[in-house]
């Protein structure tokens, strides 16, 4: 081999070696780059997982949407090392994005940016949040200083990105993040943020569902107002605040007058419509204020039926509470349109002022209720301020009702009988049975003190049944004892509630059978009001009673509607002219025309007429002269136990 060949070979070998070296170096570089990329990708994936996990665990611990957003903002800032994060939330009415309280701020240098943000609302397409709102996609701004679409002052921030949170198909929030340096868009990071947004969306959906359930548990389904549960809670808080501040909380118990009529005549649909309309007007009153008073924090609740309760804090005085009650009544003045017709609605309002923790919730609600009932007693559209006397009265009534209930069972009720006499000769023709309560401590309690009370509850049915039986037993004894001279029929008062019972005729028939009394020896006394309470039942009942031979007497005639149609429609046997007309007979007051008209009409219809409350001989004479055949009153005999009546029967006449 020549030296040239050798040299040539050596140089070739060198070139080959150098090429091999370059190849090796290139493949090493490539391997390193692959390793770097893989490491980097692994790092990103790991960060992504850590971040997702942080968001998931933060949101699982959140019971409110605010907390979930706050957790996500913190997690994203921790993961990206970006110092500023904030959540804009969608305002449901305008659809705009409004700043929230969910912030992550690492140092005071961003305070100015935060306060600028807190003053800024974004509509669709405007600014970074508005851009996300418009596209529904995450967005990145490398440098807000150079972005024409960034509307807030930069105030120390440069790089920015934002992503949306969708729930139930709606964009609910936009989370935005800032860093003081410009940063090039990072697609991978933005993709992760999109994922975070979807995760948050699921959390928001869950929380909204939970909130809805909680809302249903604490609100009235018909009106959306607070229910009793929530109201009690608010009231407790208000009382604690009132105690701390030494201020007043006012409680208004509002009950619509004659709401039942609306339900009965227009149906429950209209009733519900009215309740919703009333709740809206109440809300309007409480939200506004007038020149005299400005209402404090308030809660309006519906307790069911037509009962509304308002809690108002910081009213300052009784006058403020009264002003509020009057504003509520004024707000109801304008007619409600139901079924295309105007309806006038009034409310009775009970007011209680609470000054602090000396009053507890149940007691206050009861006091407001008592005041409301007192207002209702004074007629529709009134208010009443609760005072202790009212409560005492209510408590006394409650005590009386309890005692009366026991009295019926303990046999403390008695029947007294008042003779009804013939004005022609003065002989006792019949008696009216009157119930008395022989109280072991209070003695004889007059009927005026317990019958109205009994009429408010089912107690009147019990008392009525007892009276009926007792009176019939007495009638049977007298029939046996006196034969044709017995002072029968015995009249028994029947209340509206009893009359409304469809089974009344059956009850009466049973009592007659049990006591062996003839129907004709019993008379039922009822008032005109009882007749009009309900249209169907009384007429049928009265005809059924009539069929048993029982006499029907219309009591207190002349004070009610005195309607001729009643006299025609119902099988009436006799009228009792109310004592208010009889009282003035013979004193020159011109009641005589009325009495004469009544007797003339009764005579024409074939009805007997009894003058009630005859206290003097003059009244008796006048009544007789005006056409009354019968009379009842102290002038002849007071109501008395049966044994005291019996001597009068033997004699044949009371005096």
């Amino acid at each position: 081999m020549t030296p040239d060949r050798l040299a040539e070979r050596a140089s070739t070998r060198l070139e080959v070696t150098e090429r091999r070296l370059r190849r090796e170096r290139l493949s090493r570089r490539e391997a390193e780059e692959i390793a770097e990329r893989t490491t980097r990708a692994l790092y990103d994936k790991q960060q992504e997982l850590v971040l997702l996990e942080a968001v998931v665990s933060a949101s699982n611990e959140s019971s409110t949407i605010e907390n979930a957003l706050q957790g996500a903002v913190d997690a994203v800032c921790a993961s990206t090392s970006w110092p500023v994060g904030h959540a804009y939330v969608r305002e449901p009415v305008s659809g705009d994005l409004v700043p929230s309280t969910s912030w992550h701020i690492e140092s005071g240098q961003f305070a100015a940016f935060r306060s600028a943000t807190e003053r800024t609302t974004f509509s669709k397409g405007i600014g970074l949040p508005g851009r996300v709102l418009a596209t529904g996609e995450p967005a990145w701004i490398a440098d807000v200083g150079e972005d024409p679409g960034f509307h807030r002052q930069r105030l120390g921030v440069r790089g920015a990105f934002a992503f949306p949170v969708h729930a139930d198909g709606e964009l609910r929030a936009v989370l935005e993040f800032f860093t003081p340096s410009p940063v090039a868009p990072d697609r991978a990071l933005l993709a992760v943020m999109g994922q975070i947004g979807r995760q948050l969306g699921r959390v928001v959906e869950r929380i909204r569902a939970q909130e809805q359930i909680a809302h249903q548990a604490t609100h009235d389904g018909l009106t959306g107002l607070a229910n009793r549960l929530l109201f009690r809670d608010r009231l407790e808080l208000a009382l604690a605040r009132a105690e701390r501040h030494g201020s007043f909380a006012a409680l208004l118990f509002i009950d619509l007058d004659r709401f039942k009529d609306v339900n009965d005549t227009l149906g429950h649909g209209a009733g519900d419509q009215l309740l919703r309309a009333v709740s809206e007007r109440l809300g309007k009153v409480l939200r506004g204020h007038d020149s005299v008073a400005r209402w404090g924090d308030s809660t309006v609740a519906r307790f069911g039926g037509d009962e509304f309760v308002v809690l108002c804090e910081d009213l300052g005085s009784e006058a403020g509470a009264v002003r509020l009650a009057e504003r509520v009544q004024e707000a109801l003045l304008e007619p409600f349109v139901l079924d295309r017709k105007d309806h006038l609605v009034t409310a009775s309002i009970g007011i209680v002022l609470a000054s602090g923790a000396d009053r507890h919730v149940e007691g206050l609600l009861r006091d407001a209720d008592i005041a409301m009932y007192r207002a209702k007693e004074r007629g529709p559209g009134n208010w009443e301020m609760f005072d202790v006397a009212l409560r005492d009265r209510a408590l006394e009534r409650a005590a009386t009702e309890r005692a009366l209930r026991l009295a019926v069972d303990a046999g403390e009720l008695r029947l007294h009988y008042q003779p009804i006499v013939s004005l022609d000769g003065g002989a006792i023709s019949s008696v009216e049975a009157l119930v008395r309560w022989q109280h072991p401590v209070r003695g004889l309690v007059p009927p005026g003190e317990f019958i109205p009370l009994a009429e408010e509850s089912s107690l009147i049915l019990q008392i009525g049944a007892w009276t009926l039986t007792e009176a019939c037993e007495q009638a049977a004894r007298w029939r046996a004892q006196f034969g044709d001279a017995a002072p029968l029929p015995v009249s028994v008062n029947v209340s509206a509630r009893q009359l409304a019972q469809p089974e009344l005729p059956a009850i009466v028939r049973q009592v007659l059978t049990d006591t062996g009394v003839r129907g004709a020896d019993l008379a039922i006394e009822l008032t005109e009001t009882a007749l009009i309470e309900d249209s169907g039942v009384p007429a049928a009942s009265l005809h059924a009673l009539k069929a048993l031979g029982v006499k029907i007497v219309l009591d207190d005639f002349g004070t009610g509607f005195s309607s001729l149609s009643h006299l025609q429609r119902f099988p009436i046997d006799a009228l009792k002219i109310d004592r208010s007309f009889v009282m003035h007979l013979g004193t020159g007051d011109d009641n005589r025309a009325i009495v004469r008209a009544i007797t003339a009409m009764a005579s024409a219809l074939g009805l007997d007429v009894v003058a009630e409350g005859v206290e003097t001989a003059g009244q008796a004479a006048e009544a007789r002269a005006l056409g009354c055949e019968w009379a009842q009153g102290y002038h002849f005999a007071r109501p008395a136990p049966a044994v005291e009546i019996e001597p009068l029967i033997r004699v044949g006449q009371p005096h």
């Binding site: 390193e32 990103d44 490398a142 440069r158 860093t179 340096s181 940063v183």
Partner: protein, 178 residues
């Protein structure tokens, strides 16, 4: 010290002074010279190479390190453009060292022990504190100069404090030419 630093140094030395020079430096330092970018190697290796280069060029070691930093920066700009594109100035770029650039370095090279910086602005000067037991403030200075080259700016750097002079940390005062 991450292997990528040695790779960069090899690349720059070979480019500017020839591949043989790199071999000569390795021989002079008594190093075998196999560095892979993700591996970690003794800090002392870099110091040996720098000393060898300083001896060969008869220049101060810090000047070698500064040259290394200034020359390395354009390579970074090619490899990691996303760290540069959002910026229009050296100042803006440099201010992202702690928050963006070094976190990125750690993502690529897990375990990389990067220095800490603090920043202050005083009389038109950007005052940058350098904290690292490696005492490579000269490398930082080189990178700063390289960044200025990249953004087409001129700057001068004073170093009132330096760990190599016994101070607790190094301070670089950077003045940007108007």
């Amino acid at each position: 010290m991450k292997g990528v630093v040695f790779n960069l140094l090899e690349q720059l030395v070979s480019r500017d002074y020839g591949e043989d020079t790199w071999d000569a430096l390795l021989d002079a330092s008594g190093l075998d010279g196999s560095y892979t970018s993700l591996g970690s190697y003794p800090d002392e290796d870099l110091a040996k190479l720098v000393r060898a280069a300083a001896d060969a060029l008869a220049t101060p070691a810090d000047d070698v390190v500064t040259w290394f930093g200034r020359s390395a920066l354009p390579l970074f700009a090619v490899r990691y453009p996303q760290l540069f594109t959002p910026h229009r100035s050296t100042r803006s770029f440099v201010l992202t060292l702690n928050d963006i650039i070094h976190p990125e370095v750690r993502k690529l090279y897990p375990g990389a022990d990067v220095p800490e910086f603090d920043f202050d602005v005083r009389d038109e000067l950007l005052v940058m504190g350098y904290h690292s037991p490696r005492k490579l403030c000269a490398f930082a200075e080189g990178l700063l100069l390289g960044a200025a080259d990249h953004f087409g700016e001129r700057l001068t750097i004073e170093q009132p404090l330096c760990m190599k002079r016994g101070d607790e940390h190094c301070v670089l005062e950077i003045a940007f030419a108007a």
